[in-house]
């Protein structure tokens, strides 16, 4: 589904990703972990197509297409979704109007008819129950005055409405209490199936207690330095990122 090869990317002339490789198949959940500054957010931004980031080398193939050739909205149309670390506020634009526009723009990209009011409402009610979202939240201006937890839940609610093929969760657990993490994780797990995939980008392993990954990758200094099964996350939690750093420096000395 997603194949990233030898990716070099950065911002404002600074190289952050230096030869990043990753392959994700349908049905898989991958977790990218790493210390601050290792390039986690850069990876999420490059995948979603943020303008300020520059790709200097490498390729990204998504569902058979060259992802780097596509504008951000086309990537969304192809089925790529990014749950933002810091969701953006737009005053005066109701959350529900925003989501309806989003859902129908993506449908349009795929050559589907827009959802009519009845079908949209039905879908919305179903997903609201899943994410424990109150109707009053949806009539408020997009993310304006939302608590940290409400913003993150709103991200996953949008993901549920859009039903992407690849969902990237960028530090979705940051700033959430344990109940909110459970709700968010429950939402993600319910949406998992054999055809879609999830990429969880996180600093801490606690979200991975609830969203169980198939693979854990450790990102350090712009590259994946270690990959393993879900137990790797626990090891990291226990021993901290220092042990990875030490392993790397030993390797480099050799």
């Amino acid at each position: 589904m997603l194949r990233i090869e030898n990716l070099h990317a950065g911002i404002e002339g600074k190289n952050i990703l230096k030869g990043f490789n990753l392959e994700i198949k349908p049905g898989e959940v991958h977790a990218i972990m790493g210390p601050n500054g290792s390039g986690k957010s850069t990876l999420a931004s490059v995948l979603a197509g943020r303008q300020d980031y520059e790709v200097t080398e490498g390729s990204i193939e998504f569902l058979g297409k060259d992802l780097l050739e596509l504008s951000p909205e086309k990537r969304a149309g192809e089925g790529l979704f990014l749950a933002f670390q810091y969701p953006i506020e737009i005053a005066g634009l109701s959350t529900i109007n925003f989501i309806k526009t989003s859902v129908n723009e993506i449908r349009k990209y795929r050559g589907q008819e827009p959802l009519d009011a009845v079908a949209f409402l039905k879908l919305m009610k179903e997903k609201m129950a899943l994410m424990d979202i109150d109707k009053s939240l949806l009539s408020r201006s997009l993310n304006e005055g939302f608590s940290g937890g409400e913003k993150k839940r709103n991200e996953i609610f949008q993901m549920a409405m859009i039903q992407p093929k690849l969902a990237i969760l960028d530090e979705t657990d940051s700033g959430l209490d344990i109940d909110a993490i459970r709700i968010v994780a429950n939402g993600v797990n319910t949406l998992r199936n054999k055809d879609n995939a999830v990429l969880v980008v996180t600093h801490y392993q606690r979200l991975l207690d609830y969203i169980i990954p198939d693979f854990v990758h450790v990102l350090y200094n712009g590259r994946i330095v270690k990959s393993g099964p879900k137990e790797l996350a626990l090891e990291l939690e226990e021993r901290g990122y220092e042990f990875i750093k030490n392993e790397i420096s030993v390797e480099e000395e050799v």
Partner: protein
């Protein structure tokens, strides 16, 4: 405005997207010229010009004298064009303007059926059907082309209720006592430079009179079209709402694209007596000039209403997207006790447009209230200023004002300015002013993009959200059109 195409939408916000999509890629689409023969005054301005206009309109002597008085006053102001507004333009040569231009065939048609077919097609193209059966049943229209009104719809139906809705020319002929009583009672001929000029040379406009206790059953509207070259449009609108009456009035306007600037200097006066309410909405879309700032309309307009009676209310709503320069301050004199004045405005400037607009709320009576909501959107190299005065006089006990002035910037070459003036002479007054300035951020656009929404649609969503509070004040028939206009005006300003 395409009033007959867009049936009232109850769910404007949710449905705006498709209309925006359809139109976002279009440029100013009202810029065509209709090839019609015109009956024109010689270029330039002197007393003979005024006599010519007055004679053309077959005016009574008192009207001519009133005009000449205004003209002579204007002459004393020579060289004293107002310069305090935050706009820049070369001096206007008032001798280079044609002050009267009327379509030759069937001016002032007694019946709508007699209108020149070429003109009829013009209005079909603008989306305004003169055929009453085809029109929205809720809107009566007076059509003004260049200097004259060419027809008014639904006149008979309104007359049954005692409502007078006709051109100013006709009002002077048929209802001289009302015109004499109210004309220049709110905006005196000496009020300001452009009001004096308008009084001298105004050629037409609309007149509405709502009798005591009558609630006008439909929207009244005037559509202004400048067609002829080198002409100025000087129209005069007068609305009188008698005790306990109500009227909602709309105006819309367009002009051809030309390289030369054209002057539009109108005067609008509103009078609300005891317990009366007037709601006045404007969707202004004069040609704004091209992307380099060449051409466009100078829109120098004086609009003022008086809440003359107790418990009366006047509400101005304006969506200003056109004109090279806009200079206008729809104001309310709150004379009656417990009267209410409102001003809701969205002003959009793009490319090299300049707007200096706002309001004056003059609190004279007791327990008077006013509310000002101004939303300025600037893009390109444009400049957008809010200028407002809240005045509470000595006897205006318990006056209340709330003002909210928000500016939204697109890009970093445009300007937004706020000039609020507050004068309070009574210590029981409560005056609140809030102001914000924000930019459409790349983060906001990217967030929308990531959700599959392209940049133009994203900008439209953001500005419609920003302007929502004002758009909600517009009559339903026009809200959709106004949202489209916002999107078109800002086309190409981001990305």
């Amino acid at each position: 405005m395409k009033t007959e195409i867009y049936t009232p939408e109850r769910n404007v916000v949710d449905d705006d997207r498709t209309t925006i999509e359809r139109t976002i890629l279009s440029d100013y689409k009202y810029g065509f010229v209709t090839d019609i023969q015109a009956d024109e005054a010689p270029m330039g301005l002197n007393e003979d010009t005024i006599r010519f206009i007055s004679a053309k309109k077959n005016e009574p002597q008192w009207m001519l004298e009133w005009r000449l008085k205004a003209y002579r006053h204007w002459c004393t102001l020579a060289g004293e064009e107002p310069t305090w507004a935050n706009v820049k333009y070369p001096p206007i040569n008032f001798q280079d303007i044609i002050y009267y231009s009327a379509p030759k065939n069937k001016t002032n048609s007694k019946s709508l059926e007699e209108i020149d077919p070429e003109l009829r097609r013009t209005f079909e193209k603008l989306g305004i059907s003169l055929n009453e059966q085809k029109r929205l049943s809720g809107v009566a229209v007076d059509i003004v082309v260049d200097s004259v009104s060419i027809g008014t719809t639904f006149k008979e139906q309104l007359a049954e209720l005692g409502i007078i809705f006709c051109s100013m020319t006709e009002a002077i002929q048929e209802h001289p006592e009302l015109v004499k009583k109210y004309l220049s009672s709110v905006v005196p001929i000496t009020d300001n430079y452009f009001a004096a000029l308008n009084s001298a040379v105004f050629t037409d406009g609309s007149f509405c009179y709502i009798p005591k206790g009558v609630r006008c059953p439909m929207e009244l509207s005037t559509y202004f079209r400048i067609n002829a070259e080198n002409t100025g449009q000087f129209e005069r609108t007068l609305i009188v709402a008698e005790e306990g009456s109500y009227v909602s009035y709309l105006e819309g306007c367009t002009a051809p694209m030309r390289d030369e600037n054209q002057l539009h200097a109108a005067v609008v006066e509103l009078i609300a007596l005891d317990n009366a309410e007037i709601k006045y909405s404007t969707v202004q879309n004069w040609y704004p000039g091209d992307k380099e700032g060449k051409g466009g309309i100078y829109n120098f307009v004086t609009k003022r209403g008086i809440c003359k009676g107790n418990n009366s209310k006047i509400s101005w709503t304006q969506v200003e997207t056109g004109s090279a320069i806009t200079w206008k301050y729809p104001s309310v004199i709150l004379k009656g006790d417990n009267s209410v004045g409102e001003f809701y405005s969205v002003a959009v400037t793009n490319n090299y447009q300049q707007a200096d607009t706002g309001t004056k709320m003059l609190h004279l009576g007791k327990n008077t209230k006013s509310r000002i909501v101004s939303k300025g959107i600037s893009a390109g190299f444009s400049n957008n200023s809010y200028r407002g005065l809240v005045h509470v006089s000595k006897n205006a006990a318990n006056a209340r004002n709330f003002s909210q002035c928000d500016s939204l910037l697109l890009g970093d070459k445009c300007g937004a300015h706020t000039f609020p003036y507050i004068e309070v002479k009574n210590n029981t007054a409560v005056v609140e002013h809030e102001a914000t300035t924000s930019k459409i951020g790349e983060d906001q656009i990217f967030y929308c993009n990531q959700r599959g929404i392209d940049t133009e649609t994203a900008v439209a969503l953001i500005i419609n959200g920003f302007a929502k509070e004002v758009m909600n004040q517009l009559p339903m028939e026009f809200a959709v059109e106004a949202q489209k206009l916002l999107a078109i005006s800002l086309e190409g300003s981001v990305g």
